[in-house]
């Protein structure tokens, strides 16, 4: 039985609580409603590769500050600041008043049910306790191992990242504190043969500490090297529509990019999402059930409450193929006459909250992977999710994977193709899902952008799936 430790809350957050509460009380008195989110976040990046070793506080993971939110004539206004020292409430009100002066009357009503909460997540091995030297040493070991696997390995980039944050949300009726830590460990192997260079990536994440390094060491490095070597013989894929088995991380890419973004209901409000017309209708095969949840699983994007003070939820987006609904931040929920789903998230306290995914996945099915591969006459096993772009308006799929392994007559032939661009129409792909493996995984190494900015930690995944997909 591995002992787990609970995170302690930031002393900074504890120290500013009284001033934060006083500010909320005063602004509520003046405007009718005010809330504040105070954040103390810290995180580091460790990197070992051919250029050397680096360790640093990572700006994306580090922040300390607060964001005030007030509602003026039904409009939402915010003021973000980094320090309570010298904060002049009259100057703050002057800014708010000036911002609101040119706004028409709105209809936003913030949710403010009574809620008191104080929670934190657990970890096994704290990065701060083991120290930088220990982490760099482990990463260097794995890099040495990758380089020794094959003489064609040109470089192996080993990286570990962690973030720990404490958030305090106060409003007239809410007093909520949470502390959360996630850690990720990744390997990116570069191989070279003559003029040709290819790369392959494996990543592991957890809601916890550096215990995630064990998984990287057990399987990640070897898998990354093998895939990279295989890619040296890859050729561009013949464009066409094929029966495909998607590995769990590629399933996650499809879940996140192709469908997840399409059910962010701030897009419903803006008439930017086709999904709005399909609520209550079939959008996927009977096998498919899809969730977005920050509390139903323990992964890198888990938390207790969102950046608007709403409790995290477990949203059943697709229920055996039927679209049940989406996820919503507070503004979107208010406009649509719904309850917020706990998906209002910010890149940092100085950024606006948008409707954002958390941990998004398909439920596993009942099939064995070997049976799924055996069921294919001519198709591909697709691995290594690379990137994707959302298209909620048209429900188009634009996802890129790293590697497609040919399957013929129910067996892998050894032939490899890359890159792999998956395209098509989302409901067509989801309705074509005919098999789903009985186990699933979540992958939380990446960050999700809204367009090309507003980066938040997410995870996605699911089981392996068999589907008909357009590849090029």
């Amino acid at each position: 039985m591995i002992e787990k430790n609970k995170l302690t809350h930031s002393e900074y957050i504890s120290s500013v609580r009284p001033r934060a509460r006083a500010l909320v009380d005063e602004l509520t008195r003046r405007y009718g409603y005010a809330s504040i989110l105070c954040v103390d976040a810290r995180g580091k990046n460790y990197r070992v590769d051919r250029s050397g070793v680096s360790v640093c506080d990572e700006p994306l993971y580090c922040s300390r500050g607060s964001v005030l939110r007030v509602v003026v004539r039904g409009n939402l206004l915010e003021y973000a600041f980094d320090s309570f020292d010298g904060l002049d409430i009259e100057a703050v009100c002057e800014r708010i008043d000036r911002l609101s002066a040119h706004m028409s009357d709105g209809d936003f009503v913030p949710s403010d049910e009574q809620c008191s909460l104080c929670e934190s997540t657990e970890y096994e091995i704290s990065p701060q306790q083991v120290g930088d030297e220990w982490i760099l040493s482990r990463l260097s070991e794995q890099r040495t191992r990758a380089l020794s696997e094959d003489e064609r390995v040109f470089d192996a980039l080993l990286r570990l990242s962690w973030q720990k944050y404490t958030k305090l949300f106060l409003s007239p009726h809410r007093d909520m504190t949470e502390s959360v830590m996630w850690t990720t460990a990744t390997v990116l192997t570069f191989v070279r043969e003559g003029d040709r260079m290819k790369d392959s990536y494996q990543g592991y994440s957890n809601l916890g500490g550096v215990e995630v390094l064990d998984r990287l060491a057990e399987e990640g490095v070897a898998h990354s090297v093998k895939n990279a070597i295989d890619l040296l013989s890859s050729t561009p894929i013949p464009a066409g529509e094929y029966d495909c088995i998607c590995s769990p991380d590629v399933t996650g890419l499809i879940v996140h990019e192709a469908f997840g973004h399409g059910v962010e209901m701030d897009m419903f409000v803006r008439d930017r999402a086709l999904a709005r017309e399909y609520v209550g209708k079939r959008v996927a095969s009977e096998l498919v059930s899809m969730h977005d949840t920050a509390c139903g699983v323990s992964e890198a994007a888990s938390y207790f409450f969102d950046d608007e003070g709403n409790l995290s939820g477990d949203t059943l987006i697709i229920d055996h193929g039927i679209l049940r609904g989406g996820i919503a931040d507070e503004q979107a929920a208010s406009r649509l006459g719904l309850e917020p789903t706990g998906n209002g998230r910010r890149e940092s306290y100085s950024h606006k909250a948008y409707t954002r995914m958390t941990n998004t996945y398909f439920e596993p099915g009942c099939d064995k992977l070997e049976d799924m591969i055996a069921s294919i006459d001519h198709g591909f096993y697709i691995e290594e999710a690379r990137c994707g772009m959302e298209d909620p308006k048209n429900w188009g799929i634009q996802c890129v994977a790293g590697i497609a392994r040919e399957i013929r007559d129910g067996a892998l032939t050894g032939r490899v193709y890359s890159p792999v661009v998956m395209s098509g129409y989302v409901p067509d792909l989801l309705n074509s899902i005919s098999m789903m493996s009985d186990t699933g995984s979540l992958f939380g190494c990446g960050f999700c952008g809204k367009g090309h900015k507003e980066w938040v930690k997410v995870s996605d995944g699911g089981p392996a799936i068999k589907a008909r997909i357009k590849l090029s």
Binding site: S51, V55, L136, R272
Partner: protein
């Protein structure tokens, strides 16, 4: 705060460091259709200290480093603790010794701006351009930001400079034969309201075409014409090849004076800030002439490793005009792409591609708007590449508007 920080650094016993402070004020306007939906005001200070640590291991001399982020709200003991942690970490960064940035003193006066007035100016310009028939602004975000950056080292770097930028997103929509949208991102320095108005009008016209565009037609076997930001992406390959870090680590085999892989006009690096992150004065630098690399791009560390002059980091690339007129470029069948969903360029092997949100397909007889097709190619291997005489300019690029890549 900087004086406080220098005192604590001295008390910890750190003699080699670089302090970077960025004061930010920002106004954000969020529009849904033509209505101002949400407004925000931001006032923050970001502080980081890069601590350096020189040490010897046998005959070799090393200079490790670690970036430490601190806040004015921290107590002295908290800042001290962070600095000590960073200083200890630097000992494990075995970077071969390299020089510190040379002394330079240039603390410029800060300026005061009415950010709300400027943001509203851009909003007004954008909304005033919303006059194209059948199409309209779906939503927009406008961020007007004033920053003051200060960089200080104990070796005489003491620079400070202001910046005023407006950036944002624009989504335009047309409910024609199809309900179509196009997404655009913009960024300007100073007050360039007319440029945003022109860009908005252009996008509103293009989205109307997208609503009528043919879907999933075959465009194989024709040359590809890319425009604007995509041209910048391809030409940016020269920056990857010329990177001192990439040359040092072997990811690039480029050498000064030799021909770079790919076909390029003359390229120039254009600074967008007066000083790099280390305090290196940023100047315009010729990068490529007659297809040959003239110099490497690098910071103090990697530039020294390859014996090059440190340049700092560049975002903006200038390129000499091509010789092909617009008529020549579009005189034979081609697919002209004006918007991708996500243009991808792989610097490892030169492959590029993406899904077309809006393109114009000329088959030799007529031009048709197309959408939903995928294109790909390899810039490194392209045999026929022509650059336009017509130019395009934005925050990251000033050069030929179009590039035509042969499908050979």
């Amino acid at each position: 705060m900087i004086e406080r920080l220098k005192r604590i650094i001295s008390e910890v016993g750190i003699s080699d460091y670089l302090i970077r402070e960025v004061q930010t004020e920002r106004v954000e306007l969020y529009y849904v259709r033509r209505e101002l939906d949400t407004s925000r005001s931001v006032c923050t200070q970001d502080l980081s200290v890069c601590v350096y640590r020189s040490y010897r291991d046998g005959e070799e001399c090393y200079r490790g480093s670690c970036d430490v982020i601190v806040y004015s709200s921290m107590s002295d003991s908290e800042i001290e603790s962070r600095l000590r942690e960073g200083y200890a970490a630097a000992l494990h960064v075995r970077a071969r010794e390299y020089p510190h940035a040379p002394a330079v003193s240039d603390v410029r006066e800060d300026e005061q701006y009415d950010l709300l007035r400027i943001a509203e100016g851009y909003a007004g310009a954008m909304l005033s351009a919303d006059t194209v028939e059948d199409s309209f602004i779906n939503s927009a975000e406008i961020f007007t930001e004033h920053t003051y950056t200060r960089i200080i080292s104990p070796f005489g770097v003491d620079v400070g400079y202001p910046s005023l930028q407006t950036s944002g997103e624009l989504v335009v929509q047309c409910k024609g034969e199809e309900d179509a949208e196009l997404f655009d991102y913009f960024r300007y320095e100073g007050e360039c309201y007319d440029l945003l108005a022109q860009r908005t009008q252009q996008k509103l016209t293009q989205v109307r075409d997208r609503a009528r565009a043919l879907r999933d037609i075959s465009v194989e076997g024709v040359d590809l014409v890319l425009e604007g930001e995509c041209v910048r992406e391809l030409l940016g390959y020269a920056m990857f090849l010329s990177s001192a870090k990439n040359i040092h680590t072997g990811y690039s085999s480029a050498k000064v004076g030799e021909v770079l892989r790919g076909i390029y006009p003359s390229l120039t690096l254009i600074p967008t800030v007066p000083y790099s992150r280390e305090g290196i004065p940023m100047i315009e630098r010729a990068l490529v002439r007659d297809g040959r690399m003239l110099g490497a791009i690098g910071d103090m560390r990697f530039a020294s490793y390859i014996g090059a002059e440190p340049t700092g980091e560049y975002t903006r690339l200038g390129a000499e005009s091509g010789t092909a007129s617009t008529e020549q470029l579009f005189s034979s069948p081609c697919l002209h792409v004006v918007a991708f969903s996500d243009f991808q360029f792989d610097e490892l092997d030169g492959y590029f591609g993406g899904e077309v949100r809006l393109g114009y397909y000329y088959d030799g007889e007529c031009v048709r708007a197309v959408t939903g097709v995928s294109v790909s190619g390899n810039f490194r291997e392209a045999g026929r590449v022509e650059y336009s005489a017509e130019r395009y300019s934005d925050y990251t690029y000033d050069g030929p508007r179009y590039v035509r890549i042969g499908n050979d």
